[in-house]
């Protein structure tokens, strides 16, 4: 059995017994399989938290959820090892999730949430000790000052349903920058740049510190990872680390054997009933756009087939692309929702999570085109490319020169922002989602809970709940088929012999549809 030795020296003795601040990596020997298993256990906790957050759980529910997740996954038969498991798993995942901006963001958010609820479960003495650890040595507001703002502090307390403060309530006066979430929720009184934070909201201060510390630490870890660790550990830790971030802890949808293939002619029908939006996306994108009448002409053109040559080319490309993706260790299902959401579709790409990308990317370019059908068709095809142009926020841009290089006779005229939200609404409407449900879905989209938006869509379309949430396009499909079969609404599933699954990647599917 291999042994992992940490080269960093440090001690964990000065850390509060139940809630470490993860200031330094432990000087512990860790068995290689513990390295991975601990990490997976912690990952289950973090994924559970992520689910809870995206489902919009209330703080009390989250508190219970975190406690349960922690108890279920972070136990150790040896009590004295519990704290080590906590610290080791954190540092392993820190390594795993330091490697890209997107990974860091997710990890930071989940670890911070975990820390928040664990902090809330601590007794007040331990909480104060932790504040001390963070050097949060704010002076409490003195009684004279308290009297002068007592009324207004009471008003804040009433506005958020908290008990009225009295002379015994401790308030800290801190720069508003340090309690962004209390500012955001109008949970504190703010005067001349200072927020008056009552003791029972101090968790926010601590969490902000934790978050900012961890955020910096992740960037440093990333540097270490790219400069030394990845190379040094290339035969041992690196494969584990690289596999862990993409590991998808749900069921495996990558094994085709159990399922019947769907013939292409059935896809239309299945698509209408059981495809998630990301797989219908292509057609909707063409027709769902809210175009001005002047542009109505193009609408029909968008959804027309492109030439066979183009089709073959793209089709072949996606096959190659898929095979190129094969062979990674635990990367079972590269196109789980998490992965789709975090990928940014490039120019002309058809994939990506529509809930996310509808929101950000659509722009329209209008070409003045010369006469002649062939050119027009090509240009229409290519005008799709130009949907992904720069906005004030994003620099993704296809310059007019690039377009001009392709088509000398195309004359670039206008670049105009369309409200992309309308497209998503239109697409959902086409799926038969009720107006009311569309609003709920849009709400989730705006709050960036894309998977939850998809789950709500599923629930609306199938008129049935989906407690597990949607985590994978194929899961959407198979759950949909299960429901439809049980309802006997569409006997398609039966025709195809029970369970059906599309074991295709998004590209492939989209191309077949084309």
């Amino acid at each position: 059995m291999e042994i992992v030795r940490s080269q960093r020296k440090s001690s964990v003795t000065d850390v509060a017994p139940t809630l470490p601040l993860y200031r330094s990596a432990p000087a512990l020997e860790v068995r290689l399989d513990d390295f991975e298993l601990f990490a997976i256990d912690r990952l289950r906790v973090l994924k559970g938290i992520s689910d809870g957050l995206s489902r919009g759980r209330k703080p009390e529910e989250m508190e219970k959820l975190v406690r349960d997740l922690w108890r279920t996954n972070m136990r150790h038969q040896n009590t004295s090892e519990v704290i080590n498991k906590d610290i080791i798993s954190h540092f392993v995942l820190r390594l795993v999730y330091c490697r890209t901006e997107e990974l860091r963001k997710w990890f930071l958010s989940m670890e911070t949430t975990l820390f928040r609820y664990r902090f809330r479960l601590e007794i007040p003495e331990a909480q104060r000790a932790l504040m001390g650890e963070f050097d949060l040595l704010y002076k409490a507001v003195g009684s004279a000052e308290f009297e002068s703002v007592k009324e207004i502090l009471g008003q804040v307390a009433r506005s958020i349903g908290q008990p009225l403060p009295n002379a015994d309530t401790i308030f800290f006066k801190v720069p508003f920058e340090e309690v962004p979430e209390l500012v955001a929720g109008r949970r504190v009184y703010i005067c001349k740049g200072y927020a008056y934070v009552p003791m029972n909201q101090v968790v926010s201060l601590v969490v902000t510190q934790f978050r900012s510390y961890l955020s910096k630490a992740l960037v440093l870890t990333n540097r270490k990872w790219t400069s030394t660790i990845r190379e040094q550990e290339k035969d041992r830790l690196t494969p584990i680390v690289e596999a862990l971030s993409t590991s998808y802890l749900g069921p495996d949808y990558s094994q085709p054997k159990e399922f019947a293939e769907i013939s292409i002619k059935d896809i239309d029908q299945v698509a209408n009933t059981s495809f998630p939006l990301c797989m219908r996306h292509l057609f909707e994108k063409g027709v769902g756009l809210k175009l001005d009448d002047a542009l109505a002409f193009w609408r029909a053109e968008f959804s027309q087939k492109v030439g066979t040559e183009r089709f073959d080319k793209e089709y072949a490309y996606s096959i190659r692309h898929n095979y190129g993706k094969e062979g990674k260790r635990t990367d079972y299902t590269p196109y789980s929702c998490q992965k789709i959401i975090s990928s940014t579709p490039g120019v002309g790409d058809h994939h990506g999570c529509p809930y996310r990308h509808f929101r950000f990317t659509l722009k329209l370019m209008h070409f003045h085109l010369p006469q002649g059908h062939a050119t027009r068709q090509n240009a229409v095809y290519h005008s799709e490319i130009t949907f992904f142009l720069s906005t004030q926020t994003s620099t993704v841009k296809l310059t007019s020169k690039q377009i001009y290089d392709f088509y000398h006779d195309c004359f670039l005229l206008v670049c105009l922002l369309l409200e992309s939200e309308e497209n998503l609404r239109a697409a959902l409407g086409k799926m038969g989602v009720s107006d009311r449900a569309v609003e709920d879905i849009m709400d989730k989209v705006r709050n960036r809970h894309y998977q939850l938006a998809c789950t709500l869509t599923f629930e609306a379309v199938h008129d049935s709940s989906c407690d597990a949430g949607i985590n994978h396009p194929n899961q959407y499909f198979s759950d949909s088929q299960k429901i439809l079969q049980s309802k006997m609404v569409i006997p398609l599933g039966e025709q195809l012999g029970g369970m059906v699954c599309i074991c295709m990647r998004q590209h492939e599917l989209v191309d077949r549809k084309l």
């Binding site: 008003q155 500012v183 004359f411 206008v414």
Partner: protein, 473 residues
């Protein structure tokens, strides 16, 4: 692309004026590159913009960061709708020359980056994200078109004196909160040139806010439920009391503007369609049906001398606030209605991210007459006057009249008229822009630079002290 270059050499005719050709001094309304050239050449306050954006770093003080201005992103929109981001300039002269040469239809100001934004690609190869925004004014963008469901006088890009008070409210509410709550002092309000206002908070503390902190401030200001258009209640005020910020905004600004201005000017209760929208915000069927019935009646026999809107509003308030209505939610309803019709609506994305761009003050909003744009854009643009983005005095914002803000052609006319006066040093002083430039300097720029200097001074001294101490130790 193959866009014709702007014809040069026409601009002097506007200055020297050839009256026999020009029919007096009237310059045709409109917007074209030649007008703009004169504007940038003679009127645009390049030096003031440079001074502002330098935040005191253009001085000789040893604490000055000489690279500061050069790390600021500028973005130009050129006349063929080409958008050039990540421009940077190392001096006032460079900035001015580039503006005069390129004659951008729009100038946007972005963030201060860690490295020169024009050279970002060179740094990108070094791996890591060296190129990242490090400073940015806290900015707000409020656009009248976001208020279309609560104004009946105009819609979309149009504004008039009946709906402009909505902007006045926004300036008052946000300005007071920025000063009193967040403690900011250097705040610039600017007419956005068409249908709204921009706000630049320039205190050092504001410029150094993280995206998260910016988002927190935006949320502090937000009372609207995220665009839930199906819900009749746009505003949801929960809890047993209003947060002090909301309470103050309500009693000091919103209520008065609603009752004294908008209620009658927008005729908020005048038609069935309008009052139904309000009744839907009341979650008590017995009250809504009673009011609805009464107002249906009174429609036929309106002999009252008092304004119909006022009468109905008073009736509604009476119903909701009378002793019988102990239910908290119903009492809150009056406030919710007022908030719905008056409270500022921010374009939140602009404020939340440091790397967002915002149009520079003193830009001119382009108006085009030429047929080179699509129908869509042309319609859109031709509905807008080409007005200068002039500063607004937040303390006098009631006086601000967007319809009298100078247009490009008006300024050129004035310039022609005053062209021969030798007693005036600056060209802009010959025009109605002078007032705006003077206001920009005296109320914003000078106090800002003074405090920049002080801040620089004190941080420098602290550093000196620190290094002294470390030596003596």
């Amino acid at each position: 692309m193959t866009k014709e270059k702007v014809e040069d050499g026409n601009d002097d005719m506007l200055i020297d004026g050839e009256p026999e050709q020009r029919q007096g001094n009237a310059i045709p309304e409109g917007f074209n590159a030649n007008y703009l050239k004169v504007y940038y050449g003679k009127l645009f306050p390049h030096a003031d913009i440079f001074k502002w954006i330098s935040y005191g770093n253009d001085g000789k003080h040893p604490a000055c960061d000489q690279s500061y201005f050069g790390r600021r992103e500028f973005s130009f929109t050129l006349d063929n709708d080409i958008y050039v981001r990540f421009q940077s300039f190392n001096s006032a002269a460079e900035l001015e020359n580039s503006i005069k040469e390129k004659c951008p239809f729009k100038i946007d100001i972005g963030a201060v980056y860690s490295v020169d934004p024009a050279k970002r690609h060179a740094y990108a190869q070094a791996g890591d994200n060296v190129f990242t925004p490090v400073e940015r004014e806290l900015v707000f963008d409020i656009d009248m078109s976001d208020y279309d469901d609560v104004r009946y006088c105009c819609s979309g890009a149009d504004v008039c004196l009946d709906c402009w008070p909505l902007m006045t409210i926004a300036v008052k509410v946000i300005n007071t909160a920025l000063r009193d709550d967040f403690g900011f002092n250097h705040i610039l309000w600017v007419y956005s040139g068409r249908r709204g206002v921009h706000c630049w908070v320039c205190d050092g503390r504001a410029r150094r806010l993280t995206n998260e902190q910016r988002a927190a401030i935006v949320d502090y200001f937000r009372v609207y439920k995220v665009g839930n258009e199906n819900s009749h209640k746009k505003v949801s005020l929960m809890g047993h009391a209003l947060h002090p910020f909301l309470a103050r905004s309500y009693t000091e600004v919103l209520r008065a503007f609603f009752e004294e201005k908008l209620l009658c000017s927008q005729k908020i209760f005048a038609t069935e369609e309008r009052f139904e929208k309000i009744l839907k915000m009341i979650p008590d069927d017995s009250i809504t049906s009673e009011l609805w019935g009464r107002w249906q009646e009174s429609k036929r026999s309106s002999i009252s001398k008092e304004d119909l809107n006022v009468v109905r509003w008073e009736q509604l308030k009476h119903m909701l606030q009378s002793g019988k209505q102990k239910v908290q939610g119903l009492r809150r309803c009056v406030e919710e209605i007022v908030f719905s019709y008056t409270y500022p609506r921010l374009d939140t994305e602009v404020s939340k991210h440091m790397n967002h761009l915002l149009k520079a003050p003193f830009c001119v909003h382009p108006k085009t007459g030429a047929g080179c744009f699509s129908m869509l854009l042309n319609d859109f643009l031709s509905s807008l006057p080409g007005r200068v983005c002039v500063p607004i005095d937040p303390d006098q914002c009631e006086e601000f009249d967007p319809t009298t803000v100078p247009t490009l052609s008006k300024l050129l006319e004035e310039l022609n008229m005053g062209g021969l006066r030798a007693d005036i040093d600056f060209d802009w002083d010959k025009t109605s822009l002078g007032k705006s430039v003077r206001f920009f300097r005296s109320s914003f720029l000078q106090p800002l630079l003074k405090s920049c200097k002080e801040e620089m001074e004190s941080s420098y001294n602290a550093k000196l002290q620190h290094s002294k101490n470390s030596i003596s130790w």
